[in-house]
Symmetry: C2
Subunit: 122 residues, 2 copies
DNA sequence: CAGAATCCTGTAGGATACTG
DNA sequence: CAGTATCCTACAGGATTCTG
């Protein structure tokens, strides 16, 4: 059992990973398949993605649903416990939006995941 | 100029460092001298402390006040910009307090820094 | 498509000693 | 007391390949 010098460390232990907040911010908007997450995070490697997902799963923050079919289909989504992080994630996202330097003259450069939702890739 | 795949990355860039949230959580309660911070974070090394402090300073989140005296005295405190992170830090701390496993049968093991200094009301 | 298994490297970050 | 300056190592994390 871990000992913390300050309670906030308990939160950091769960969402402190390099990509965890980003992953959670995506999953708070919608459940996602592995490939979707990969496309939403061009910077992440295969290895890191699964690794971070496993840790989040082990911490009970997200859940993994496997569909028994070929080709395989796996979906990740927040658990109830994960939703308890909503306030944190919301404030983080809000701050990011407010304080981001405007690198996007128009929105064209921003990934618009919603647009590709429901897409079937063959 | 950095390009983000998702706005929240802007927030992570500022508070994503290993110790930054902890430091900020301390500074949100009161301005602190270097030695105080060191004692509040027994796990951090001299090097990491100054490094993280410098980065926070460079990002305009905290400010460093040097008193010209011997022995030296330096104080760190949040800037106005830094206070814009209050909501994030508050929700992080709150979550930590709620979800920490109760490792403290009584409070005796928890550091109680408040006792040693006046509060910094903003 | 999801992800496990390898191999490999950079660097985050620790320990220690020193200075104004 | 606050802060450099070194040295050094573990491991986070990347690239690539393979499999059901």
């Amino acid at each position: 059992m871990k000992k913390y010098n300050i309670p906030v460390e308990a939160a950091l232990e769960v969402i402190g990973g390099k990509w965890k907040v980003v992953i959670l911010c995506h999953l708070i908007k919608a459940k996602r398949r592995t490939g979707e997450l990969k496309r939403l995070m061009p910077g992440i490697t295969q290895k890191m993605l699964t690794q971070q997902l496993r840790e989040l799963e082990d911490d009970g923050v997200i859940e993994r649903k496997v569909y028994n079919q070929v080709p395989p289909k796996v979906e990740y989504f927040l658990t109830d416990y994960g939703w308890s992080l909503k306030e944190i994630l919301d404030s983080l996202c809000a701050w990011g939006e407010q304080h981001i330097e405007r690198v996007y003259p128009d929105k064209s450069e921003v990934l618009m995941p919603e647009a590709e939702e429901e897409l079937h890739i063959h």
